[in-house]
């Protein structure tokens, strides 16, 4: 039976059909911030990425479908000597803003567990703030920082061994739980054909790809544009909000970016902007690619970065069936007045004809006909961070 895992600010919820209707049940971590919950298809184990606030970020696992949870014996930790280039704010009377920024090199400690992905070879990948990618090749018995990415030239080189170049092209996101403006890895997509090929996306840097299981990485930002930047086509500095690929046609990759919606048909070698602002398709956080047809994707648009709310108080999902040439607004069953929801980057998912999303207002909506009509699962969940089918 299909299950949907919903990660919220106050716990993990399981959604399944009970007596003909979809019902959300508290499945663990009551009172704790949960950034992401997903099931490893090869082991069946559930993984929850927790943010305890006082007690830090923790990995929690369940082997009984969410009936019981325990902290994973191996936690994600930055190794001794891991440093990164960041920025510190300081008082600056000469600045119009009263503050200035200075570049600093600081020791890395885990601030946030943000996303998890599973390769067909059993590799578990975890993306964190500040910008660390960790992997486990022993089923989660140990996690190792990917040093090739951590030491990437775009990030200032190897700070384990020295001071590197002193310059980073990775900027920050306010999504860290420590309040620091540090880069974060929120998207990891593993090619189902070849688990050594992995795409990741970083706020704020862009997309990178490995084809050798993480030994080498290169940027994948050709065709991307930043309307807000003096150098719109720069290699780095992009703000992907999330990326997703079509599992049966993995060269079809979708990206909801701060600066619009982008689509690639060649495995992210080159991106093409497919925003259509006239139908409200431009800004937003999530995108979900269809499993079978690479031309099909769903979005939940919001009104520009200046508002980040549903457009004009009417919530809709947008779907394209033709690679972004045209988009349909799917509104049937969704509130069309007084709705100001925003949907976070991991809070939309699909499988077969099922499409489901949740908002920070605690609303969870579900469609069993690819978005044509919607039903409400709940109006009363805590703020929703992630929704995953599986």
């Amino acid at each position: 039976m299909t299950k949907i895992w919903v990660a919220t600010r106050k716990g993990t919820f399981r959604v399944e059909q009970q007596g003909g209707s979809w019902t959300a049940t508290l499945a663990g971590h009551a009172g704790t911030g949960v950034n992401y919950v997903a099931r490893d298809p090869s082991s069946g184990r559930l993984w929850a990425l927790l943010g305890h606030g006082h007690w830090g970020a923790k990995l929690s696992v369940s082997d009984d479908g969410g009936a019981s949870w325990r902290d994973n014996a191996a936690q994600v930790k930055f190794p001794d000597g891991a440093r990164y280039i960041g920025q510190d704010m300081f008082e600056d009377a000469a600045s119009d803003f009263g503050v200035g920024w200075r570049v600093v090199t600081r020791k890395a400690t885990l601030q946030k567990l943000w996303t998890i992905a599973f390769g067909a070879d059993g590799t578990i990948w975890i993306g964190t703030i500040p910008g660390g990618l960790f992997s486990s090749r022993d089923g989660g018995a140990s996690f190792e920082l990917n040093r090739a990415l951590w030491n990437h030239e775009s990030r200032g080189g190897d700070l384990f061994e020295g001071d590197g170049t002193g310059e980073t092209k990775w900027f920050g996101t306010p999504a860290s739980e420590g309040g620091e403006f540090a880069p974060g890895i929120h998207s990891i997509v593993v090619d189902p054909r070849d688990p050594r090929r992995v795409l990741i996306a970083i706020s704020t840097a862009g997309v990178l790809e490995t084809r050798d299981g993480g030994q080498t990485w290169r940027s994948r930002n050709r065709g991307m544009t930043m309307d807000h930047s003096p150098e719109p086509e720069a290699e780095w500095g992009h703000d992907p909000h999330v990326i997703d690929l079509c599992s049966s046609n993995p060269d079809h990759v979708w990206q909801q970016n701060h600066a619009g919606v982008f689509y690639s048909t060649d495995g992210a070698e080159r991106w093409r902007k497919v925003s259509v602002p006239d139908v409200g398709v431009h800004f937003g956080f999530p995108v979900s690619a269809d499993d079978k047809d690479g031309r099909v994707a769903w979005l939940v648009p919001g009104r520009a970065d200046s508002q980040r709310m549903a457009i004009d108080g009417g919530l809709f999902v947008a779907r394209t069936d033709d690679g972004g040439s045209t988009w349909r607004q799917l509104r049937k069953g969704l509130p069309q007045t007084g709705a100001w929801d925003i949907v976070y980057r991991h809070a939309l998912d699909n499988r077969d004809d099922l499409v489901v999303f949740g908002s920070t207002t605690g609303n969870l909506y579900l469609s069993e006909d690819r978005g044509e009509t919607w039903t409400t699962v709940s109006h009363n969940l805590p703020p929703i961070y992630s929704v995953r089918v599986g």
Partner: protein, 92 residues
Amino acid sequence: MIQVHLTRHLFAFFPQLEGRVLEVEAASVAGAVAELERLAPGIGFYICDERGRLRPHVNLFIGNAMVKDRRTLSDAVAPGDKLSILQALSGG
């Protein structure tokens, strides 16, 4: 031996410690946390980050005095001391 008093919130994650008188042999706060880790594997990473620094919203007291060295927990403890591990009242 020093006696360790934990905020009850930690018992949610380490129920094996609830209701016990926690006494450990240690000469410093760091040593006491290491002993706690032996009793309840994983608890050290709740109290400190991976560099051994006290987490920002966690406070430690020896008796009524707040621990001074939050970076390496080098404050000395003596037999009979009571070490309290508390969380700041914050959040929502």
